[in-house]
């Protein structure tokens, strides 16, 4: 295991990202999908921080903070939406919410 630290960090970020993606795709429970999106955002943030340490610049970390803020906003709005959905449909199944089909 003689990996370059940047490469190793990016590999971890990639694996976490794809795991989150798989979860989004296979889950029907909408709260799980929200969690999975959080995993993916976190993986992206990790990649930024790894890049920041690679170049020795602060920009990557700044981006991580923005992602953090965005995740917080997203979760608050997302949870409110889920609440509405649950009130409307009495379920958390995202496939049920398919009224806007073509």
């Amino acid at each position: 295991m003689n990996l370059h630290p940047t490469t190793a960090g990016l590999l971890l970020a990639g694996i976490l990202f794809v795991l989150g993606l798989i979860s989004v795709l296979i889950r029907r429970n909408i709260i799980f999908m929200l969690l999975s999106v959080e995993i993916m955002l976190n993986a992206a943030g990790l990649a930024f921080v790894v890049a920041a340490s690679h170049w020795g610049q602060a920009d990557g970390q700044v981006m991580f903070m923005f992602i953090l803020a965005m995740a917080a906003a997203e979760v608050s709005v997302g949870l409110a939406l889920i609440l509405q959905l649950y009130h409307q449909l009495r379920t958390l199944d995202s496939d049920e919410a398919s009224r806007m089909n073509g």
Partner: protein, 176 residues
């Protein structure tokens, strides 16, 4: 290669795998907290201690706790776990899984292609981050503030319970 990094990375991946395979949403959330703490350690090893702290405080501390309270509020019990079990069939996850594995393969391939020389891990102190944040990124910070406000207003608006205008009995009739 730092031993801390390896351990933390392994824990992060294992916990995340548990998150996506777990049927009980509470367990999944707790695994996710573990995963986030592991990622915080990774961040620390990559010379971003401030980010590691933020990860723990905001992600694991605030966001995850918010979701946990939300789940508790909806009172999703064993029934939900049963549902999850029923929904997670190989027929459903096999094709997306294949595509995601292909995507992962491509990502790994591209990352391993990287032949750029590096000075190793460079520590970027929080002061530098703060200088950048309130210097060149000032506008972005302002916009992030607006985004957060929009999130607050949106959450308040969407989460509001509508007043019931008819009797419960009639409402049930309407729903059926």
């Amino acid at each position: 290669m730092d031993i801390a990094f390896i351990v933390a990375a392994l824990i992060a991946v294992a916990a995340t795998v548990r998150v996506i395979t777990c049927y009980n949403i509470m367990h999944a959330l707790l695994y996710l907290v573990v995963s986030l703490l592991a990622v915080a350690v990774v961040l620390y090893t990559y010379g971003a201690p401030f980010m590691a702290v933020l990860e723990i405080i905001i992600y694991a501390g605030a966001i995850m706790v918010l979701i946990i309270f939300f789940v508790m509020m909806l009172n999703l019990g064993l029934e939900t776990a049963e549902h999850e079990k029923a929904w997670l069939r190989p027929r459903i996850w096999i094709v997306p899984g294949i595509f995601c594995v292909v995507l992962l393969g491509e990502l790994l391939y591209l990352i391993l292609q990287n032949k750029q020389p590096s000075a190793g891990i460079q520590v970027v102190p929080p002061k530098q981050v703060g200088m950048a944040l309130f210097g060149p990124y000032l506008i972005a910070v302002e916009l992030t503030g607006i985004l957060l406000m929009a999130g607050i207003v949106g959450a308040y608006h969407l989460g509001r319970q509508h007043k019931k205008t008819v009797h419960r009995f009639l409402e049930n009739n309407l729903n059926t």
